[in-house]
């Protein structure tokens, strides 16, 4: 259609599911809406004053008619409800074997890390086609929404909680990544491109270290944060008086002082670091001081938290992370410019990496904006 495209490209499994429903709705709406409006216009002209028309026996009430034009739209509505809800539930249930990618939204950039390889990127997302990709997302500051129109996926990125979304890309190409939830001044520039690549190309891209010349796996980064924060000081290999052991923690059921239990999942680990007193493991008292969320010294940013949680998940019965072997072998390799989409996109307002750089805080009213209030105590 040249300058007037009528539909966005279909580049994911969802697109192929959702679009037929969209077009079916369009057909129904155009048909019934069109008929109704044409009838309105026809009646208005047919029964215009002065025209010769049969106006005998006008009706003012007609129960069967009322019932039928209530029931018929209802049935039609329920059909669309059914398919819409079914597809939505599918779109909200990521498959178990999905490739994991972590996303942190902050004003006004997307920070993305590939869990398996640790490759990080800003405002771009490289994914292989044909493989389900699960996004675990959190915001460092205000509400954002992670939106890839060509994949027909969108989900809010909320501060203080993890949200999830997933997709399977089907067609190699370059697509758009938007922030769809208004988030402040440069909202419209928060985004970049999604590169869907053939699996081999993706593997090559990862092997070359992505856009990041010095990749460190998420787990490795988590490990160094674990050391830096001296978690080992209290949480040792075995339970001690200082604190329960974190080894082999993930997925286990924990019992708390108030008698309740919970499965140790990502959200639990995150909560236990930001709000250690929310759930006290049975047999312990609350002695750990909470870590605030932020980038100032002593705080743990959401980005670091993702790494830390990933590291704690890997803690086995020894202090060696289980999957240390997974990557990190490609350090120092410069990006290969032939890899599709390796061009860096630095959107205006992207802040670049701020890791370990407390000076990178943006100031609001002279106070750090991120986690500002938490840091004031």
């Amino acid at each position: 259609m040249g300058n007037f495209p009528l539909a966005p490209p279909q580049a994911s499994e969802f697109a192929h599911q959702i679009d037929p429903l969209f077009y079916a709705l369009t057909a129904v709406c155009v048909f019934f809406g069109g008929i109704t409006f044409l009838v309105v216009i026809y009646f208005s002209l047919r029964y215009k004053r002065g025209t010769k028309a049969d106006r005998s026996n006008p009706k003012h009430e007609h129960l069967p008619l009322e019932i039928s034009w209530s029931i018929f739209p209802l049935i039609l509505a329920l059909v669309f409800f059914w398919f819409g809800a079914k597809q939505f539930i599918y779109a909200k249930t990521p498959p178990k074997d999905a490739m994991e990618i972590y996303v942190v939204g902050k004003q006004w950039m997307w920070h993305i890390q590939h869990a398996e390889s640790g490759v990080r990127e800003n405002n771009t997302l490289h994914v292989p086609i044909g493989r389900p990709v699960k996004l675990t997302m959190i915001s460092q500051d205000v509400l954002h929404a992670f939106y890839i129109p060509e994949f027909r996926i969108q989900y809010h990125v909320v501060p203080g909680r993890y949200t999830q979304s997933w997709f399977t890309a089907t067609k190699p190409g370059t697509y758009h990544l938007f922030c769809a939830m208004y988030c402040g001044t440069q909202h419209s520039e928060m985004g970049g491109y999604v590169y869907a690549m053939k699996p081999d190309d993706y593997a090559q891209w990862i092997k070359n270290g992505g856009n990041d010349p010095q990749p460190q796996t998420l787990v490795e980064r988590g490990g160094s944060i674990y050391t830096k924060m001296a978690c080992e000081g209290c949480h040792t290999e075995k339970d001690t008086i200082h604190g329960p052991s974190l080894y082999s923690l993930y997925g286990k059921t924990r019992r708390f002082t108030d008698g309740t239990t919970a499965v140790a999942d990502d959200a639990y680990i995150r909560e236990s670091i930001y709000k250690p007193d929310a759930k006290i493991v049975a047999g312990y008292i609350d002695t750990m001081s909470p870590y605030v969320s932020g980038t100032q010294p002593g705080a743990i940013s959401e980005e670091d938290m993702l790494a830390l949680v990933a590291y704690i998940k890997t803690l086995g019965t020894t202090n060696m992370p289980l999957d240390k072997s997974l990557s990190g072998t490609q350090r120092g390799v410069t990006p290969n410019s032939k890899v599709p989409g390796s061009a860096r996109v630095t959107a205006v307002g992207a802040l670049g990496f701020e890791k370990d750089n407390p000076e990178a805080n943006r100031l609001r009213n002279g106070k750090p904006a991120v986690g500002a209030l938490g840091s004031e105590n």
Binding site: D258, K275, A278, P290, N377
Partner: protein
């Protein structure tokens, strides 16, 4: 502030003019019924006004059960209990005043309204001491907030935000009540026909005061009597 406006005006509606019947009404019955329907509609908005806060409270309390329990230990059950008694008593006396107004017993009305007014003032005085205690312990939410020992900072701060928000809003309603009851008392004392000729204005004030009382009946257990 909302309530100030709403109520101040409702006060205007029946407080300022001399002759009881307004020109837009056919007769006094129509006017009285209109006032009562209007008053109930106003009370419905008040219920929804507090309702949003109650819903917020319930959601946060379910989420932060332990912290709410620990934080609630900081509220003063004795003072809260005294205040509950005071308000319940004032509700009784205002009911007696309305009854007296129906019987056109001016002395009875005045004897009912005076203890009501005193109860309302007592309530706020006690409330002042309760607030002062929270401020002294830095339990006031904000940058200087210090949670009670054993409670997490964020959830405990939410508890005190809700505490100050809800009891504060209720306190504003008590304050408005004092103004309205005071005005009503003055009008009865001056034998103004607008109140003496018909009981409806007195009944409306009574309804309002019962509502304020009722809100407190919910607030008291929610903030002072959380079970372990």
């Amino acid at each position: 502030m909302a309530a100030t406006g709403a109520h101040a005006d409702e006060h205007l509606e029946h407080g300022e003019h001399e002759g009881p019947l307004h020109e837009q009404y056919e007769d006094i019955d129509q006017q009285n019924e209109s006032y009562i329907v209007g008053m109930w509609a106003f009370l419905v908005t008040e219920v929804m006004f507090f309702g949003a806060l109650f819903v917020t409270y319930v959601l946060y309390r379910t989420r932060y059960q332990h912290d709410f329990w620990v934080s609630h230990l900081e509220t003063n059950t004795l003072l809260g209990g005294i205040n509950t008694t005071v308000l319940l008593t004032s509700s009784l006396t205002v009911a007696l005043a309305v009854r007296a107004a129906m019987l056109k017993n001016r002395t009875g009305v005045i004897l009912g309204l005076i203890p009501t007014l005193m109860g309302a003032v007592t309530f706020l005085v006690i409330k002042y001491f309760e607030y002062a205690e929270k401020f002294a312990h830095n339990h006031y939410p904000g940058p200087t907030f210090i949670p009670p020992s054993g409670a997490a900072k964020g959830p405990s701060q939410i508890f005190f935000s809700m505490y100050f928000g809800m009891t504060g809003l209720h306190g504003i309603h008590v304050l408005i009540g004092i103004i309205v009851i005071g005005a009503l008392l003055y009008l009865w004392y001056k034998k103004r026909p607008v109140v003496t000729e018909d009981y409806v204005p007195t009944e409306m004030v009574g309804l309002y005061w019962h509502f304020v009382d009722l809100v407190w009946i919910f607030l008291f257990p929610l903030y002072y009597l959380i079970p372990k």
